[in-house]
């Protein structure tokens, strides 16, 4: 716990910004959900024939897993892209259902005799709604809003995966770094925020009850909401002054590389906003092309097969030339490679390797009953599991388990699985006592680290290209593994690790 407090204290400006972003996401999406859900709910309550399709539609939105919904939204024009806007669309979709339900329940729960009397006494339809139905339905609508807000605080943590920021940044970063303090720095404030929002709305519900209403409470609540909104906007705006936005995917090495690019650019006197932990290759690429981020580091082999759908190749230079041309057509510049090759590494526990004499990937056929588990991407990619099995004639029984890339090392070392595909440069290979099986048939193509930057940015700030070119060949496999281990194994702050590295190689 003291570690958590120390972490937050040492990251307080960033923490305030993330918390502010989170609050803004939840407040804005809940407000929009209310603006959509309440009128729709009134309409649905009035016309039961409409209620079924409306609720069914809202239900459907609710059933889409949040990460999948973000994925659907990213390619859409206007609504899509990466960043806050897409996150707001998704969060609003999730929040609509509880608001809608609360409104329908509330309006339908007004006793028929009360409505009958109101009409018979000469209230106009609008007066029936505003003076009778609305106040009587309000407690139920507020309950709907409370559910929406609590769901919103939780779901907004996932918005970090598409670059919308928020407390989810810490959760994903912590997962990537296998650092529970960082995870808790996101999770605990998010849980407290959910409780606080729920409490504030419960108070609002009491104020809505005419028997307990008091002007003092009303003023206090309005002041609280204004102060929170203002504070959140201000805090989230602290980091909004930026010249360049640097992204990264969601594992340790990517965060280190993101930090590297960011610090090199910062040393040119520019303001950098970090949008790390984007939820996968497709999201990072889409973000780059749509301008959500200006730069990140991609791997040449991944780019070739997963982004441009070209057949894998083992000729590293040819791969680089191919992707450089493809990127150029998209308005993206592939800068010189950083030096190391982060290919896939087929991993087993050191104990198993010794016991069974496993040395190459082909030796896996001696490991009877081995249970495989891979990251989601490895099962799908053309240079992934299917091709690997064919190339080595592997006969691994049973369907491989899929799991988050950040969990595979721990899953392997804790005997949940027996074989996996990790990053060759992962610091966890050593820290978790794992062994890399040799790819003696050269199945895996080259995965050299390539900074990819929007060409427009390089035109705007020519010094960025110059600085990043100086990173060419600057990172060896060993150097990368050491930085990864410093973060994963020694729990050092990626910022400090990269700073030390840049200071050591000098020239920036």
């Amino acid at each position: 716990m003291s570690g958590l407090i120390a972490f937050i204290a040492s990251h307080r400006v960033e923490f305030a910004a993330r918390l502010g972003e989170h609050i803004v996401l939840v407040l804005a999406s809940t407000t929009m959900a209310a603006a959509i859900g309440i009128p729709l709910g009134v309409l649905a309550a009035r016309r039961p024939a409409l209620a079924k399709p409306i609720v069914a539609l809202a239900n459907l939105g609710q059933t889409i897993p949040s990460l999948a919904l973000f994925g659907f939204l990213i390619p859409l024009p206007f609504l899509g892209g990466i960043g806050t806007r897409t996150a707001l669309v998704a969060l609003t979709l999730y929040a609509v259902l509880p608001v809608l339900r609360g409104t329908i329940t509330g309006i339908q729960g007004v006793p028929a005799s009360v409505i009958d009397c109101a009409v018979a006494m000469g209230l106009t339809p609008r007066q029936v709604l505003t003076q009778i139905e609305w106040p009587l339905a309000l407690p139920s609508i507020v309950s709907g809003l409370r559910v929406a807000v609590v769901i919103g605080v939780g779901t907004a943590t996932i918005a970090s995966a598409i670059g919308a920021g928020g407390l989810g940044d810490y959760i994903f970063r912590g997962l990537a770094m296998v650092d529970s303090t960082v995870i808790l720095a996101g999770a605990i404030p998010a849980a407290l925020l959910a409780l606080a929002c729920d409490g504030a709305l419960a108070l609002a519900g009491r104020i809505a009850d005419p028997r307990r209403r008091s002007p003092g409470m009303m003023i206090a609540l309005v002041a609280l909401v204004i102060a929170t909104t203002g504070g959140a906007l201000w805090a989230s705006g602290v980091t909004s002054r930026r010249d360049v936005t640097v992204g990264s995917k969601n594992f340790t090495e990517q965060i280190v590389l993101g930090e590297l690019i960011a610090q090199v650019i910062e040393r040119q006197g520019l303001h950098v906003e970090r949008r790390f932990n984007l939820g996968g290759t497709a999201i990072a690429h889409q973000a780059l092309v749509s301008g959500g981020i200006d730069a990140y580091v991609e791997y040449s082999g991944t780019s070739l097969t997963a982004i441009f759908n070209l057949p894998p190749s083992r000729d590293a230079n040819e791969v680089f030339t191919q992707i450089r041309d493809r990127y150029a057509a998209l308005g993206v510049t592939a800068l010189p490679r950083l030096g190391y090759n982060n290919t896939f590494a087929i991993l087993v526990r050191a104990a198993d390797a010794q016991r069974l004499g496993l040395r190459t990937i082909g030796d896996l056929n001696r490991f009877t009953g081995a249970r495989a588990g891979f990251g989601y991407e490895f099962l799908e990619r053309p240079d992934g599991f299917t091709g690997l099995s064919a190339a080595y004639g592997l006969n691994i029984a049973g369907q491989p388990r899929t799991m988050d890339l950040n969990l595979i090392y721990r899953a392997l070392s804790s005997n949940e699985i027996d074989v996996t595909a990790g990053d060759a440069t992962s610091g966890q290979i050593e820290s978790q006592k794992l062994v890399v099986l040799a790819d003696d048939r050269h199945y895996f193509p080259a995965y050299e680290a390539v900074p990819v930057v929007r060409s427009a940015l390089l035109l705007r700030h020519p010094q960025v290209a110059g600085a990043l070119k100086r990173l060419e060949g600057a990172i060896s496999d060993e150097a990368m593994r050491r930085m990864n281990y410093a973060v994963d194994g020694e729990k050092q702050d990626p910022f400090q690790v990269v700073k030390a590295f840049l200071d050591r190689i000098g020239g920036f």
């Binding site: 005799s113 009397c117 000469g122 209230l123 106009t124």
Partner: protein
């Protein structure tokens, strides 16, 4: 559902509509303040066909009381009674005086009841507030749909007395729907017995009691056996 119904009600007169469930008595009541619209025929109020009235203005000039009073649960007793005067935008001073006057008239002490909430009242008290609310803007016509239907016998007798006292002083045109023949005999100047969407008879209680029309005598005989419903 209603056919060939014709009935005239004068000021100060209480007419009871009685009959079995589904005979059309509530339908007839709801046609008067245009909660329902007739397919044909007309209702004339204050010398003017109701179809030519603005329905909102018409309803504000007609009092309406229903079985469970239909009080607005989010408003105090005083505020419930003030509903129509507020819609008519009376000055607040006049409204508050009127509320106190009406609460006293229906036998509730304003100081004690004005700021109570509907769910803090007994069934009989709620019905008194319902009556006060219906009378608030001094309507010429008062419609009552089973107003004492859900009330125990002793309280009902009290309310009957109260109603007669109020009606004697205010002299409204009152249409009272009830399935309880004894209530009709107790309160009405004339009783209209409805059967299958038609009025079988509409006359003073003594004539109705003596009627040989089987549709009427069945109801009256039922009453004589001592179970008024």
């Amino acid at each position: 559902m209603l056919r060939d119904v014709s009935i005239a009600i004068g000021a100060g007169e209480t007419v009871a509509l009685v009959g079995r469930s589904g005979c059309g008595k509530t339908t007839l009541l709801r046609l008067i303040n245009r909660l329902l619209e007739p397919d044909s025929g007309q209702i004339i109020i204050d010398g003017q066909a109701s179809a030519t009235w603005d329905p909102i203005a018409l309803r504000r000039s007609i009092g309406y009381v229903i079985q469970d009073a239909g009080l607005f649960p989010h408003r105090t007793v005083g505020s419930n009674v003030a509903t129509v005067p507020r819609l008519l935008e009376w000055p607040e001073g006049k409204i508050s005086a009127r509320v106190d006057e009406l609460l006293s008239m229906v036998g509730l002490d304003p100081r004690e009841f004005r700021d109570r909430w509907p769910d803090q009242l007994s069934g009989g008290q709620r019905q008194r507030v319902g009556l006060a609310r219906a009378l608030a803007a001094d309507p010429a016509v008062l419609l009552m749909d089973e107003p004492f239907g859900a009330i125990d016998a002793i309280t009902k007798a009290e309310l009957h007395t109260e109603f007669k006292r109020v009606q004697a002083s205010l002299r409204r045109a009152v249409v009272l729907v009830t399935h309880d023949m004894s209530e009709a005999f107790a309160l009405a100047d004339r009783i209209a017995v409805m059967h299958d969407g038609q009025i079988a008879i509409c006359d003073v209680p003594s004539v109705v009691a003596a009627s040989t029309d089987p549709r009427v005598s069945a109801l009256v005989a039922h009453l004589r056996q001592g179970s008024g419903g």
